[in-house]
Symmetry: C2
Subunit: 321 residues, 2 copies
Amino acid sequence: MTDIPLGGGPEFDRIRAIAAALGPAATGLGNDCAVLPPGFGEVVLSTDLSVEGVHFRREWLSLEEIGWRAASAALSDLAAAGAEPVGLTASVGAPRDSSSDELVELMRGVGAAAVAVGGRVLGGDLARAPAWVVDITVVGRSARPVGRSEARPGDLLWVTGTLGGARAALDAWASGGTPAAGARERFAHPAPRIAEGRWLAAHGAHAMLDISDGLGGDAAHLAAASEVRVEIDLEQIPVHPDAVACALAHGDAVQAFAARGGEDYELLVALPKRFDDLEARRFQQDTGTVLTRIGRIRRGNGVAATFAGVPVALSGHDHFA
Amino acid sequence: MTDIPLGGGPEFDRIRAIAAALGPAATGLGNDCAVLPPGFGEVVLSTDLSVEGVHFRREWLSLEEIGWRAASAALSDLAAAGAEPVGLTASVGAPRDSSSDELVELMRGVGAAAVAVGGRVLGGDLARAPAWVVDITVVGRSARPVGRSEARPGDLLWVTGTLGGARAALDAWASGGTPAAGARERFAHPAPRIAEGRWLAAHGAHAMLDISDGLGGDAAHLAAASEVRVEIDLEQIPVHPDAVACALAHGDAVQAFAARGGEDYELLVALPKRFDDLEARRFQQDTGTVLTRIGRIRRGNGVAATFAGVPVALSGHDHFA
C-alpha cells in the first residue's frame, strides 16, 4: 500500500503518508476512481459532512477521534438501512498551518472506523480549507435496504442502546467543564450500530433511522416519510447514566434531556406488533445491545411525546440553525 | 419531488427548497441512504472537494457555476474510467451569512451538471462552514473500468480537446483583469468528457486520466502507476485559442503555458499503437471532440517533455502547495 502510483508533489506525498499509516485499511488510493467488487444486492450510499467549529472543536477531540466520529456518523446511515458496509471515501480539508502528521492522525481514525465495521477506505480527496472539514461518503450493500417510509399504524417503536450521552458531553464542554468519561466516549467514539441494523432488517423492521438530529427530530422525519403519527412514551426512554447526572444537575427531566440531545447514533425502528419482548431479548443476546420499546405508530401525522400522559414538546438538533 | 419526507426545521426546509428547484434532477433526497438500482457491471466511485478561496473565488464565478464546476470536476474522474454516470451525492458547507436561495442556486449548478451526463443528485448533506465547501462523490458503472496502471511500452499518448484555457482564465483574474470569454467558459463550465471516455474505453484504451493537476503532473501519475516512461512532444499539444493569446502576452512559450495549467478536465489516454489517425478521425466524428497524439510510452520511469527535441521541465498544479 505504500507504493502509491502517483507523481511527486506535497499533496501526493500526503496521500502516500496516509496509505502507509492505514495499511490494509485502505485500498486503491491514488486512482481517479474506486472500484467496488461486483456482488449481491443493491448498492446504498450516504454522505456526512463534519466541520470544525460546527460539529466539533479541536479542544474537545483528538484528530483521530475527529476522523473516527466523522466516519462513524456516516456509517451509522448504513446501519439504519440494514446495510453491510463495503467502504468509504474521505474528502479532507486541512488548515494551512496543519501538518502531514495531523492529516495522517485524522485519517487513522477514519480508517479505524471503517475497519471496525468490516469496511475500507476506498479513496478520497485532499485540499486546503479555512478549518478542518471531513466529508465521508459510505457505500454499502443490502438485499433489502430499510427506509423511513414503510412504518404502519399498529407498529411499535423501539430504540437501541441509551440516549443523552453525547448531549451530556456537549453540555459539559459548553459550560466550560470536563465531561464524564462515559459521556465523552459517546461523543468522541460513537459505534455505528451495523450489526444491530442488519439484525433488525432481517427480523422484519418496517422503517429505521439513526438518531442524529435528536429523538424528536428523527421521529418527525419518520412520521413525515411514512405518513403516520409517532407516539413516544418518554418515561420508557433508556437514558445514558452520565446523562442522568447531567440532567439532574441542570434541574431537567431526565428523559426529556436525553430525547432532546442529538448525535447518539442509536437506531430508531418501527417493528411489526408480532415483534415482542422475547424477540427483543434475542436481539440483546445476539448483538450485546439493549432494545427498548418507547412508543407506537398510529394513523395521523407528526410526533406526540408524553411523560406519564402529559404532552411534552421535543425539538430536534439542527445543524443549520 | 417537493414532497420531501422530513420533519420541520431550517436544514430540512433547505433540502425541500433544493428538491423543488432540481425537480427530476434529484431523486430520493431526505433519506439516510441513496439506493442505486441493481445493474450491469462494476460500480465505480470518485470524490472531489472544492473550497472557496482555494479552488475558486466568489468574485470569479456565480454560485451556479461553482456548483457546476465542482460536480463536473468529480464527474470527469468517471470519464477517465470510461464509466457511465449513475449519479452523485453533494455535501455543501455554507457560510453563516448565506441564504437558502444561494444554496439552491449552487445546487442548481450541481444538478445541471449531473443531468448533462445522464445522472442525478442522489443525496447529500448540508452544514454551516466558514467558507463555501462543495464535496461531490460520483457513482458510475463500467463493465471494464479503465485505470492508470496498464499503459505499456509502445503505446502512444493522446489528449482530447485543447489545453490551457482554464489557466488563461486564472492568470487573467490573478493579474486583476477579466478573462476572455472562451477562457472563462473553460474554467467556469468544464464539460466532463464522459462520451469521449466511454468511446476510448470501448476502443482499447490501456490507461486514462483526466487532466486536473496539469499535463506534467498527470503524466507523472500515469508513469508512476504503469511503471513506464512518458515522453511528451510539447510542439504537438493542442492549445486553447485564448491560452495562445495569454501565453504570448506573458512572453511564455504557448505549449509550455498550456501544459503547465491545471483543471482543463481533458482526458490523457495511452492507446495501443494500432490506434491510428483514421481511428482518431472516427473518434472526432462520433464525439465532436478532437483527439491529438502528443507522445509515447517507453520502458523506464518519469516524464520527459521536449520542445523540438529540447528538454522542457513541466510542473503540475498542486492543491496542497
